[in-house]
């Protein structure tokens, strides 16, 4: 990384190398996002269908996907608006539901080397449950800006395109098809989690605790709301397990 002083060729070569790695990292990110894109599309279609059929206009439906970009939150908003919930309550409920992004962003930031603020601020818009999980499963200790851009932009594009398709073709898309593909995102989570569970008992314990707590909390809280408390407590349990055994997992 260190250049001989005054060597312009060295600087240029380094810049070229940087651009090449940015491109290859971007490509790697796009590839890693494919299962997410495949899973997002039918869900976004469903959202588009639902938003449009519950009376929100085409523009508003798309704007929600482009601007809020959070599945759970968007479905909740449509439901609350349809139920005639007061506006302040809709905003407050959504912000509480979306608090989990603070947890995910903090966890992912641990593995990100910030060089410039602007690219980091832009790429962070694309942090979702799914992109967070995929980025966290990267083998290298640090995730690059290029990788995150490829990953997040691809997932975002699929979400936006799916919403538009759903809102446009309200009557055309068979609901059965969208329903069967809903399992795709969960399959991706399982595909990422199971190999890590196989390698480490502590990871297995943390994941099972997370699942169990999520189920218990969902009984009074409803799905969506249980994820934050379950994640925070299960991770705490994992930290205590590590301490007892004296080795990381």
């Amino acid at each position: 990384m260190v250049n001989p002083i005054g060597s312009m060729e060295g600087l240029e070569a380094e810049a070229a190398e940087h651009a090449a790695s940015l491109k290859s990292e971007w490509r790697r990110g796009v590839r890693a996002a494919m299962p997410i894109a495949m899973g997002y599309f039918p869900i976004a279609v469903t959202f588009g269908l639902l938003a449009k059929s519950s009376g929100l206009g085409f523009g508003i439906s798309i704007l929600m996907s482009l601007f809020v970009y959070s599945g759970a939150s968007q479905f909740l908003t449509v439901g609350m608006l349809a139920a005639g919930t007061p506006f302040i309550a809709v905003v407050a409920a959504n912000l509480i539901l979306n608090l989990r992004h603070v947890v995910m962003s903090t966890s992912l930031a641990r593995r990100y080397r910030l060089e410039k603020r602007l690219p980091a601020a832009i790429v962070s818009f694309g942090i979702t449950d799914e992109t967070f999980v995929v980025a966290s499963n990267e083998k290298s200790p640090f995730v690059s800006t290029g990788f995150l851009f490829g990953l997040n932009a691809t997932a975002y594009a699929s979400w936006a395109a799916g919403t538009a398709a759903g809102a446009v073709f309200t009557a055309w898309i068979p609901e059965d098809l969208a329903a069967s593909m809903g399992v795709a995102l969960y399959a991706m989570f399982i595909a990422l989690l199971v190999p890590s569970m196989k390698k480490s008992r502590n990871v297995t314990a943390v994941a099972i605790t997370g699942a169990a707590l999520s189920w218990v909390f969902s009984l009074p809280l409803g799905p969506g709301w249980s994820i934050v408390p379950a994640t925070l407590l299960a991770a705490l349990f994992g930290m205590i397990l590590d301490r007892r055994k004296g080795n990381g997992a």
């Binding site: 899973g39 399992v183 399982i190």
Partner: protein, 100 residues
């Protein structure tokens, strides 16, 4: 018009929750215990996201999601391929509905 305001407020609030921790924490040297805690977050989150959500992955009932999930776990252990796993799960979920 009010709906537009709702979207705007939720959008800005959610973006700040994504952006502020990411930009601030990435430059910070965290205490070791906090680092170890944050390291566990992805595994805990994956567990919490998979269950019980997978049971509602298909609107027709819990069985397609359940069998799709079991098939996915088997597929990743056998093939180590994420694509094969996703496809196997979709087919297993769709196949389950044939028995209704």
């Amino acid at each position: 018009m009010t709906v537009l305001w709702i979207i705007l407020l939720i959008g800005i609030g959610t973006y700040l929750m994504r952006m502020v921790p990411f930009v601030l924490v990435s430059n910070l040297r965290l205490p070791a215990w906090l680092d170890r805690y944050l390291q566990k977050i992805p595994y805990a989150a994956m567990g919490a996201l998979i269950f019980p959500g997978i049971l509602h992955a298909d609107t027709s009932g819990i069985w397609p999601g359940l069998f799709g999930g079991i098939a996915a776990a088997a597929a990743i252990l056998l093939t180590r391929n994420i694509w094969v796993t996703v496809l196997v799960a979709i087919f297993a979920a769709a196949g389950t509905k044939l028995f209704y």
